[in-house]
Amino acid sequence: MSEREQRYRRLLALYPRDHRTQHGEEMLDVLMASGGDGGRPGWKDTTDLLWGAFRLHLRRAVGADGGIDPRGVLAIVSLLGPISILAGATSSVHEVAWWVRAGALREMSLWTHAPDTPVWFVWLAVAVLAVFGRRWAAAIGAWIGTIGLVLVATVSQRSWLWAYAEAGWVLLGAVTAVALTLSPGPARGRELAGRAPVLVMAATVVMAAAIGVLGHREPLADAARLVVLVVGAAVATGIGARVGRRAALVLLVPVMTVAIEAVVVPLAFRPNGTVTALIFYGVPLVVLLTLGGWPRGVRREPDQPVT
């Protein structure tokens, strides 16, 4: 292999994987045929290849190529969403644990201190149903769970919390309910996701909850919890594939709202309830739509498309 071919191959390695698989050798042939006899690629070819790789990555990041089956993304979410959402119970688990340690559990008012507790039991049941393939029962449970989260976010004594970072759990619940209702279901999700997706996601939730409970309101623990959630979602969904990356983005909506809170709160910006809801519920939705996290339809043409 000549030095020039080696250098071209290194540049082509920067392209998106699906593009390399489809066009890598073909591009190499074209480059070798048109690149002259020099020992290394010219700067114009190098710049052109780098720019091309950047544009193709960007197109895939924003989902502009329409090359993702939205039903596949939703299938993965239908399997892993019910498990992932259980990490939202961390605050309530911490609250209950505090009352247990104080030996005053009987004095604890569920409605005041952890009004979302019953909802997490619903989601636990949904997760079990989804994992064991009881898709329609899981879908019904997910809608009930979502309504429960909406009620907690609007009428409970701790609803103010849910206008901020906790909004992500409401959004994830709603998307999961949609996924369980409309997608091919958790069984298909298991085929498309990464290795041992249920085990990885369950371990992620347990680890994130443990960090959140033991390091409650500790900045370092909060950061570690987010890292665990991100890495766990990435591994469980299988980010090696585009459909997995899109599903991971959907599962990470709660992380998105935490990030928004980290930006908004230090600004001493105190908007009214409507604006707050628009920020914490609207922005993640817009991000999902614009970054392709909310899957777009795949264009179906009579002719076979190239990619």
């Binding site: 591009m27 074209v30 070819d45 329409g66 009579p302 076979q304 498309p305 190239v306 990619t307």
Partner: protein
């Protein structure tokens, strides 16, 4: 009303209008069509093909193995042909108006 095609896109579609071509063939044809003015490179060509294929304007026609190497031929899909025809008509209308205005221009220009 559709946006005007960028020149590389217009030339790639034109190169594929009459017959299917492989990647290197498209590069050479674009150079010829443009009178040597536009020299496409592989990165630009395949980025454009990626977009044109996802838009359904260009499709794979066939694949051949030449000297142990895969050679893939692309052709213009019906949708791409319609878009190219619309662009030709747009350019033709602009050109017609430009010619009329130039004919109406006073000899020697205006003061």
């Amino acid at each position: 009303m559709t946006d005007a095609l960028r020149e590389p896109t217009f030339l790639i579609l034109t190169a594929l209008a009459a017959r299917p071509q492989h990647g290197y063939g498209i590069l050479r044809d674009v150079e010829e069509i443009s009178g040597g003015r536009v020299l496409l490179r592989a990165g630009t060509l395949y980025t454009a093909l990626d977009r044109l294929s996802s838009d359904g304007w260009v499709v794979i026609d066939r694949e051949e193995v030449v000297d142990g190497r895969l050679r893939r031929y692309y052709r213009l899909a019906d949708q791409g042909a319609a878009r190219l025809a619309a662009e030709v008509e747009r350019l033709r209308a602009n050109t017609r108006v430009a010619e009329q205005r130039l004919r109406a221009r006073p000899i020697g220009g205006t003061a």
